[in-house]
C-alpha cells in the first residue's frame, strides 16, 4: 500500500501533493489497479493533516477516473496512467526540448526560462480553471 509523504517546502497544495503522489506511484508501478488506498483516517493521522484534505485528494482522483469507492468502504485504484497521453507526452517533450534550445540561443538564462514558463502557465490556466 502507498505511504504518503509530504514535501514540507513545496508550494504545491497538500491535497495536490497526495494526488500527484498516487499518479506518480501508478506511473512507475508502485501501485496497480485493484490496489486499495489507505483509509482517510489513517492518512490524516499519519501526516497530522486535515481529513478534509485527504477527502479532497481522493475526490480528485475519483473525478479523474483513477479510483472508485467500493461498497463496504475503501477507495480502490481502477485507472492507469498509461495510454494515449504517454505517446503524446514524448512528442510534446521533444517539442519542449527544441523550444528550450531556441530560448537558450536567444540568450535566456535558466532563471529567465523558468520565469517565462511559470508566468505563461499561470496566465493560460488561470482563465480556464478556478483556483
Amino acid at each position: 500500500m502507498i505511504e504518503f509523504v509530504l514535501d514540507g517546502r513545496s508550494q504545491v497544495a497538500t491535497y495536490m501533493q497526495l494526488v500527484l503522489q498516487v499518479k506518480q506511484a501508478l506511473r512507475v508501478g508502485l501501485v496497480r489497479p485493484g490496489d486499495q488506498l489507505p483509509r482517510v483516517r489513517d492518512v490524516a493521522q499519519q501526516l497530522a493533516i486535515n481529513p478534509n484534505t485527504v477527502l479532497k485528494a481522493y475526490r480528485e482522483l475519483r473525478l479523474e477516473g483513477l479510483t472508485e469507492g467500493r461498497p463496504g468502504g475503501g477507495t480502490f485504484l481502477v485507472g492507469t496512467l498509461a495510454g494515449p497521453s504517454l505517446g503524446s507526452q514524448a512528442e510534446l517533450r521533444d517539442e519542449l526540448v527544441g523550444w528550450l534550445g531556441r530560448a537558450r540561443s536567444a540568450g535566456l538564462t535558466r532563471e529567465d526560462i523558468t520565469a517565462l514558463i511559470e508566468t505563461t502557465v499561470r496566465s493560460t490556466f488561470d482563465g480556464t480553471e478556478g483556483n
Binding site: 508550494q11 483516517r41 493521522q45 501526516l47 493533516i49 486535515n50
Partner: protein, 302 residues
C-alpha cells in the same frame, strides 16, 4: 442562523474593568471545520474561547453553539468539549481515575474510547498524571475531551508548551479522532506552522478584534502579493485592490492585496504571487485595525 453552523458569535464583547478584551467580534464557524484561532498573546483568543464555552458572560453581543447559548444549561454544554490552556488536570489522579470521574460528571461518556486511545499511545493509565510528560498529559486531556463525544471541540493553545515531537503526535491524534467523527474543532495557537496543514478555516484575532475569518482556500485564492515599480503604484492599483499590507523601498512596492473577484490584468511591470497562510496572517496582524472594517470574510456572504 443556518443549521450548518457550529459556532456563531455576533457583536461579541467582553470587558475587564475599562479594557475590552474582545470587542465587535462576529464570525461563523460552519460544522465539520477545523479552525485555527491565531493572534499574538493578549489578542483575546482565550477570552473568545471562554465566551464560546460559557465560562464567561459577554458584556455585549452573544455567542451561540449549535444555535444555543452555551450559558443556557446542560443541553448546550453537552455538545461542547474544551481543553483549557496548559491542559489543567487533577495532577494526583491517574488517567484511569480521570476517565472514571468524567463518567460521573457527564451525561454522554465513552470511557472505552478514552481507554482505547490512551493504550494505543502507550500512556500509563495507572500513574498520577502529574508524573507524566507534558506531551502525555496533553494526550490525556485530549482523550478526556473526546470521551464526551463533543460536536464542537475547543482547544486553547494545546500544543504551545510541547516539544516538536509531542506537538506532532498531538496533532496526529487530533486529526485521526476528527476523521472518525463529525466534530468541529476550534484551536487557538500562536504557532501557525503546526496548524497550516491541519486547519481549513482561519480566524485572525488582534487587539480584541477579528481581523479576518473564513475558509482557508477561499482566503488564499482571494489574496495576492503584487510586486512592481513604486512610481506606478497608484495607477496600477487604481481602486481595484484593497491593500492589506504595503512595504516600499525607493523604487519597489510590495503589496499584499485582496482581489476584487477574479484576478484582473496587471499593469506593465507588475507581477502577482500567490500567498501562503503565513503571509496572510502576518499581513493582517500588521495591518491592525485598519483592515478590520473592510474584511467581513464569511459574514459578508451571509
Amino acid at each position: 442562523m443556518t443549521d450548518d453552523t457550529a459556532l456563531q458569535v455576533a457583536g461579541l464583547g467582553k470587558r475587564y474593568g475599562r479594557t475590552w478584551a474582545l470587542r465587535d467580534c462576529s464570525l461563523r464557524l460552519p460544522i465539520g471545520r477545523i479552525a485555527a484561532l491565531v493572534g499574538p498573546n493578549g489578542a483575546g483568543k482565550t477570552t473568545l474561547l471562554h465566551l464560546a464555552v460559557g465560562l464567561l458572560r459577554p458584556d455585549e453581543g452573544e455567542a451561540r453553539v449549535f444555535g444555543r447559548d452555551p450559558r443556557a444549561g446542560r443541553e448546550a454544554l453537552a455538545d461542547i468539549g474544551f481543553v483549557a490552556q496548559d491542559t489543567p488536570l487533577y495532577r494526583d489522579f491517574s488517567a484511569a481515575e480521570l476517565v472514571k470521574l468524567g463518567g460521573k460528571l457527564n451525561r454522554t461518556w465513552d470511557a472505552a474510547l478514552a481507554h482505547e486511545r490512551l493504550s494505543r499511545l502507550d500512556i500509563p493509565t495507572g500513574r498520577a498524571v502529574g508524573k507524566l510528560s507534558g506531551g502525555q498529559r496533553a494526550q490525556v486531556a485530549l482523550a478526556l475531551a473526546l470521551a464526551k463525544r463533543p460536536r464542537l471541540l475547543l482547544l486553547d493553545e494545546p500544543i504551545a508548551s510541547l516539544d516538536p515531537l509531542a506537538r506532532h503526535e498531538f496533532m496526529q491524534t487530533l486529526m485521526g479522532a476528527v476523521s472518525e467523527t463529525d466534530t468541529t474543532v476550534l484551536l487557538s495557537s500562536h504557532l501557525l506552522a503546526d496548524l497550516e496543514r491541519a486547519c481549513d478555516f482561519l480566524i485572525v484575532l488582534q487587539k480584541a478584534h477579528v481581523q479576518l475569518s473564513g475558509d482557508v482556500d477561499d482566503l488564499l485564492a482571494r489574496h495576492r502579493t503584487l510586486i512592481g515599480p513604486r512610481e506606478s503604484e497608484a495607477s496600477a492599483l487604481a481602486g481595484t485592490f484593497a491593500v492589506i499590507r504595503a512595504s516600499r523601498t525607493d523604487r519597489q512596492s510590495t503589496l499584499l492585496v485582496r482581489l476584487p473577484g477574479a484576478m484582473p490584468a496587471l499593469a506593465e511591470g507588475w507581477r502577482a504571487q500567490d500567498v501562503n497562510l503565513e503571509d496572510l496572517v502576518l499581513a493582517y496582524l500588521t495591518a491592525g485595525s485598519e483592515a478590520r472594517t473592510q474584511t467581513q470574510g464569511e459574514l459578508a456572504a451571509k
